[in-house]
């Protein structure tokens, strides 16, 4: 569980493997140069109110992540912020420990070049973000915690749409630094307040991020009840960031699994695993683990290819053996596997789910028996299922009876004779089963298509910047009318 964040973070790294030969001195000026370019990008973004540019700036920063040194950053702070200002001195204090003196010259020059025009809040927040990332990378978590708390306090006062992108990143690192120091419970109230603030400001990206952080926070302490209450009441809208959406799906899947809504859970978890970028290996492994268990609980047997995915084979081995035990319906083997990997399962926090699986193992075993025998004595059933209990025959009888009622097997019990008689399996094509299966598949395909089309649409307003607000309103009205018209026509068709 703790592994997925840093890995998902990697997604944004275009060049995760920075050349190791890059010493601070040689990389210094060029990194600083890059940072200055980013500043230019943020400035134009802030003046033109183009969020897109700021998103790009954040992405470029992550590329530089491995090259950051305290020298570069302090030089950059001197460039971007007003030296001597409160923010500057506060942020510099985090860096002072391992100052690289070879950068002093550069600091001086850039500070001289930069007049006090850089008072943009976006830049200030960006500096916070940069220092925070640096502190986390250097594993100075306590300082990161202090720095992030200071930045959040500052963010609460700012209300600018162009800050939102940066703010969302800051929220993430704020929560992450607290998770690393194991103090997530402290910030829950703060996160809730921030979520409310983001909702009031219609900062959808912020809401999305904060909702996920809150869910993560609750799930960290296994507070599934609270998590579900928040999730079901929080406003939902079209996802802005694919990663946040993946996370949301994953958390949703987990909550649904615990609450026994396996069908919903399966859908969410599989979608999360499918949508997650290839780089986010740890996250995808987690999704797959949960998805496997949920499918087993639903009585499905995941295909072998699921376990053989590149890079996941090792991590999924325990689950593979588990699946095997469920597939065969062998309680003894199931118990052995559960014991063998007890450590892994409790680490994955899936132990309680595994316990639930026992009943599926019995079901599969029973189904196998009912397929192979047309008549079998209950004593043999008990022996085959390896029920270990003081009164196996009576247990077997009631278990079989329940399986019959739940529709898992089609059979009857003869109590006087003490045996179970399987019924002939009917021809599935004489029922409506194939039609239902066909329908669900078509629905899935059509849904995929519709979502793909929706994803291809242009982001609102990106190509019509010059359009006046009046014109836009007019156009929206037209679109709405058209939509209404179409909907009415659709209705009439029926």
């Amino acid at each position: 569980m703790t592994t997925d964040v840093p890995v998902l973070e990697d997604v944004e790294m275009k060049e995760p493997q920075a050349p190791p030969s890059n010493s601070a001195t040689s990389a210094g000026p060029s990194t600083l140069q890059h940072l200055k370019e980013i500043v230019a990008l943020i400035e134009t973004g802030a003046y033109a109110k183009e969020i897109r540019r700021i998103v790009r700036a954040v992405r470029l920063t992550i590329v530089l992540r491995k090259k950051l040194t305290s020298g570069v950053i302090s030089a950059f702070l001197g460039y971007a912020l007003v030296p001597g200002s409160e923010v500057h001195s506060r942020l510099s204090s985090y860096l002072s420990k391992e100052d690289n003196h070879d950068m002093d010259v550069d600091t001086a020059t850039s500070a001289a070049q930069a007049p006090a025009k850089h008072a943009l809040p976006e830049l200030e927040i960006y500096c916070y973000l940069l220092v925070l990332i640096f502190l986390i990378d250097k594993k100075r978590y306590e300082e990161a915690k202090a720095c992030s708390s200071a930045s959040i306090a500052r963010l609460k006062i700012l209300n600018r749409r162009t800050v939102d992108v940066l703010a969302a990143r800051l929220y993430f690192y704020y929560s992450y630094s607290h998770e690393l120091t194991n103090s997530l419970a402290e910030i829950r109230g703060n996160l809730l307040a921030l979520h409310r603030l983001a909702t009031l400001r219609r900062d959808e990206l912020g809401q999305e991020t904060l909702l996920n952080l809150l869910l993560r926070n609750y799930l960290h302490y296994n507070l599934y009840d609270q998590a579900e209450k928040l999730r079901s009441k929080a406003p939902r809208f079209e996802a802005h960031s694919n990663q946040q959406f993946c996370r949301y799906l994953f958390y949703h899947g987990k909550i649904m699994t615990i609450q026994l809504e396996y069908t919903d859970a399966k859908e969410s978890l599989l979608q999360a695993a499918r949508k997650a970028p290839l780089r986010a290996q740890g996250f995808r492994i987690q999704c797959n683990k949960w998805a496997i268990i949920v499918r087993l609980l639903l009585g499905e047997i995941p295909e072998r290819t699921v376990f053989m995915q590149k890079g996941m084979k090792k991590a999924l081995t325990p689950y593979f053996e588990l699946t095997n035990a469920v597939r065969i319906g062998d309680l003894e083997l199931f118990r052995a596997v559960a014991d063998k990997y007890a450590g892994t399962f409790s680490q994955d926090r899936t132990h309680n789910l595994i316990v639930r699986l026992r009943h599926n193992v019995i079901r599969t075993g029973l189904r196998n028996i009912s397929i192979s025998y047309s008549r079998i004595s209950l004593a043999d059933v008990a022996k085959k299922l390896r029920l270990d209990s003081p009164n196996p025959v009576a247990d077997a009888e009631s278990i079989v009876a329940k399986a019959i009622r739940d529709g898992a097997i089609d059979a009857t019990i003869d109590h006087a004779g003490g045996w179970m008689v399987s019924k002939e399996t009917g021809d599935v094509y004489s029922t409506n089963e194939p039609q239902a299966a066909f329908n669900s598949r078509i629905a899935f395909c059509l849904n995929v298509h519709n979502e793909a089309v929706r994803a291809l649409r242009f982001p609102p307003n990106s190509h019509k910047e010059k359009e006046s607000s009046e014109k836009r309103r007019e156009r929206q009205q037209q679109v709405e009318e058209l939509a209404k018209h179409i909907a009415e026509e659709d209705d009439e068709e029926f």
Binding site: D225, A401, K402, H415, T431
Partner: protein, 267 residues
């Protein structure tokens, strides 16, 4: 000592005395007085203000709510149980750093699990279960509830019933009796699907009745569709799932139309 604390302590002493005497009506009255008094303590959830008496206040409040839960079991009031339990819960989850854990914690949590099981609220059962640390699963009270749930899901009903003899705490008996009734209904539901017919003696044994009379009353009250003739109970066979001859035309038309509409949007 704080006068309010003294008052609560005295009143709680009287409550406990009445509790031991099994004088439940005066217990009820004292309890509602106590609950009102407790609202005046600043250190209790949800405010958790730091006060010099915090430890005593929290301890006594927890003790009172624990007694309230047990009392609700004794008076067989499930709604009161739920209310009192939710008032008690923050003391278990949020005061771990302030006061030492209560010896009653696991018996009461186990009792709550059992209640959820009896009321067939399995989703909440599992949500509660996730909150417990792994070590708690070893506790006899918790383990008892967890194993019951498993046997219940599997259908090993006689294991559920025989568990009644091994209750880890006397207050569990009430819920176990309720569970026995739930189990009987389950067994009846399973039997009518699984058997064609049963002899009266077997039916009595399976449904846990000692007298023919009881069985007959049960059938006439709960399962009027069963039939007793020539010493056997016959279950109605109205559920024959013959392959459907009829074509669900309306549904098919709807589906086909929706395909057509979607396809039109694509092309």
């Amino acid at each position: 000592m704080d006068p309010r604390l003294t008052e609560v302590t005295q009143l709680f002493g009287r409550f406990k005395a009445a509790f031991v005497r099994s004088d439940f009506s005066s217990c009820d009255k004292l309890l509602s007085q106590l609950k009102v008094l407790l609202t005046k303590f600043p250190s209790l959830p949800p405010s958790f203000q730091e006060s010099p008496n915090a430890i005593q206040e929290l301890t006594i409040a927890r003790d009172i709510y624990e007694h309230a839960v047990v009392l609700s079991v004794k008076t067989e009031d499930q709604d009161a149980f739920e209310r009192d339990f939710f008032q008690l819960k923050p003391y278990y989850t949020d005061t771990s750093g302030i006061i030492p854990p209560s010896p009653q914690e696991y018996p009461i949590l186990g009792l709550n699990l059992l209640r959820l099981l009896v009321q067939n609220r399995i989703a909440e059962f599992h949500t509660e279960l996730e909150l417990l640390p792994t070590s708690a699963l070893e506790n006899p009270c918790i383990k008892y509830a967890v194993e019951l749930e498993q046997s219940f899901m599997e259908g090993a009903y006689n294991r559920v019933l025989s568990a009644r003899q091994a209750v880890p705490h006397e207050s569990y008996v009430y819920f176990m009796d309720l569970l026995a009734k739930t189990v009987r209904d389950e067994i009846a539901g399973c039997s009518e699907k699984a058997y064609d017919h049963l002899s009266i003696a077997d039916a009595k044994k399976i449904l846990m009745f000692s007298l023919d009379q009881d069985l007959a009353t049960y059938i006439s009250e709960e399962r009027p569709e069963w039939e007793i003739r020539s010493g056997c109970v016959f279950f109605q066979k109205a559920r024959e799932s013959a392959p459907s001859k009829e074509i669900p035309s309306l549904q098919l038309i709807n589906q086909t139309l929706s395909y057509a509409r979607e396809l039109e949007r694509i092309v």
